[in-house]
Symmetry: C3
Subunit: 317 residues, 3 copies
């Protein structure tokens, strides 16, 4: 018997996208296959399909992120939805209204979908649990917890370059501890059957018991990158660079920054990924970021297609 999953409806179909954890492989594969068809939409002269015409999608960003908000806005507009951007920091919650009152009010305006970013882990789950049954919630990043569309676009990108997940070695490098991106990537890779997932980081940037997520831990880049097919770099948050966790940005680059020398330990056809925005010269060398193995910009392109897939699966007419 299947465990209860708040993301699925009674028929086992995707109703919200909150986290990759607990999603069955066939749903992930369905999203990736649907995204495939939207890659070609973006290459047309008229980059629009009418799948969400007349739907109202609210970008509820309690934490500012122009970049992520923009990708959802573009995806929604390509699906012909009406998009309302709400930067909630400056809105009713500052007038003393609670988060759920704000959500109730927007729901009463006949919202069809909320795309939610919030600094607190669990915010999107809380909203999904609260809204009426016809409303869909997409988690666009909650605290350190999850960023599922990033995880999906990452595995979509891998699939585009490396066909068979079940033969891959993948390394994730950097600040695993604070990264919702890393968590979503690890879950996605596990669900899709990647046999060897490595994390490479200093001890101070690893969660305790990280091995329980099904990964192998490395503290050395030469060993960790040895023969991998995919190198997934993480962004080092500015606030980590000058804190108790790290000696300095320069020191971090020396040991964990991805340079051509270190990348040489990976397979010659390994691909290099980064969720952006990059700190060039801190977690990644400019030569590698712009080099022939980098698929960092294709990640962005595929991110639009994946978000279109998620939105159309959830709310398509």
């Amino acid at each position: 018997m299947k465990k209860y999953n708040p993301q699925l409806n009674a028929n086992g179909e995707l109703h919200h996208l909150l986290s990759i954890e607990g999603l069955p492989r066939d749903i992930l594969t369905h999203i990736l296959n649907t995204a495939e068809s939207f890659v070609t939409v973006a290459e047309r002269e008229v980059k629009k399909v009418p799948l969400l015409r007349g739907k109202a999608i609210f970008n509820l960003f309690f934490e500012n992120s122009t970049r992520t908000r923009t990708t959802f806005e573009i995806a929604a507009k390509r699906l012909s939805a009406d998009v309302i951007n709400l930067n909630i920091g400056s809105s009713s919650t500052s007038k003393g209204e609670t988060l759920l009152d704000t959500v109730d009010n927007l729901s009463a305006m006949q919202a069809d979908m909320f795309v939610v970013r919030h600094a607190q882990s669990g915010a999107a789950h809380l909203i999904a649990k609260h809204v009426a049954p016809h409303i869909h919630v997409v988690n666009a990043g909650d605290g350190r917890h999850a960023h599922p569309t990033q995880g999906l676009l990452d595995v979509f990108t891998i699939r585009r370059y490396k066909e068979d997940f079940t033969r891959l070695r993948v390394a994730i490098v950097g600040d695993i501890l604070h990264s919702r991106v890393a968590r979503s990537e690890i879950h996605a890779l596990n669900v899709l059957g990647v046999p060897e997932i490595r994390v490479i980081a200093p001890k101070t940037l690893l969660p305790t018991n990280v091995e329980q997520m099904g990964v192998h831990v490395y503290h050395d880049m030469a060993q960790g990158l040895k023969d991998v097919d995919v190198v997934m770099m993480l962004r080092l948050q500015n606030e980590r660079m000058r804190g108790a966790l790290l000696p300095s940005a320069g020191e971090f680059f020396k040991y964990y920054g991805l340079t051509a020398d270190k990348l040489a330990h990976a397979r010659p056809d390994a691909i290099v990924m980064h969720p952006g925005p990059m700190n060039r010269g801190i977690e990644i060398d400019s030569g590698v970021a712009d080099g022939r193995q980098s698929v960092i910009l294709p990640q962005v392109t595929f991110g639009i297609a994946v978000r279109m897939a998620v939105m159309s699966i959830l709310a398509g007419n």
Copy 2:
């Protein structure tokens, strides 16, 4: 002979919506009837009608209000208009341009409608007087003066639950003195023939000569709510809670906050309204706000339909 009304054109049709004061009953009824048809639009799969296609509607918000701006934006998009949001605090007026120069410039961009919110009473009237004859102005709140679409959605909500205005007792509770919402509600109820309108507030939160607006004054909730059909709560502004006008928020709740006990004085089928955002535990108890008599969220839903009605009556193709 009719008094001159700056909101009506030479044929007595609605040209601007600036205030409910002075609007004839047939115009109010026409707006409410039109809104009725838009309630069903919002329940369709494709929530759009082409009535304002190609029209340019400018949300001119000199005073920030994400919530009200969002309702107008949604209403305009459901009518297929092009919406331009302008937060004017950060714009040309800060470069030394006058309000009317800003309006002239936007008019020259072939605006069809301005939705105006401004901290100063009379701002929307000033703009309406100034613009070219083909441009329509909707007041989305000016100082303490008026907030006519709020008044309209309130009476629309009442009509949905209580059919005959001419048999109703309505109580408006709270900070009448500073509330443009209260003023618009009182005018709307009067125009529609509600025979008994009560206001319940401490003396410090009542305008002088408020009785001249056609209301009965109460300072006690038990007496004021006795046998009413409708309880309209007002939001208590944060800045009032710690000033000369009120002892404290707790004290206010004790005497004027709407609790189940106090509500028991009203008719058993009385409805409870609030314009939002609510201060739970200050002007209204959470149990009442979420209780079976509350129509607070339907107010929000009907607010979209009423704004669609106003916009389409003013500028419909």
Copy 3:
């Protein structure tokens, strides 16, 4: 042989609009003629044409300007494009991402056009040089360098009132030194064959060697305005008014502010222009700004048509 021009493609067609300097006269004339057809679109009931349907236009404003951004937004929406507004000050560049990484990312989202405003001269050129061949860049103002759509709308306005450029005397008045508008106007007037272009300003507000741009220098309004057909006023930036360059705003108005008295030196049918926003009583008297010779508001209207023309020529389906 033609000099290499980064704005033109291999066939000599307009690919970016970065500066009027170096644009051939037939391209300028093509833009003006195309704009002519869009003036009538704006007068229709449904002010939309489907020329850019499905195109993604990004307003990249690194320098805040609600007014200019709004004109591009309206122009793009009238062409049925999808418009994404990015106020980049608050975005990724503040997270340490470089300008070109930001541009690469947005390009990877399948942008079709960037409308760029930046405080640094040359920013739009830098972006145009960097982007993929299918992406178009429009300079919406870069430092003191250029503001080509303003220059174009100015000559479009002149052409509407004064048919033959080759018989005109035009005076540009005010802060030439800091004005990208003045530079673009001078280039446009030169390309279109205006035989006599005058600049009128105190020495402190003139670039050195300004004569090399093909203009005649005056320091006195009576002499400079003598018999001109067109008076183009410039906005005096607030920061100039109290600095080493000017004694005071009042002093400036006395000598260079356009009053009815000074305007009487021009031809009786001279037109008065201003790019906005105006400082009434500083560079222009209110009576003149609103007077019968003023075409300041028509400039705004024609600005939309000219921007539609530029966008549709660059990226039209």
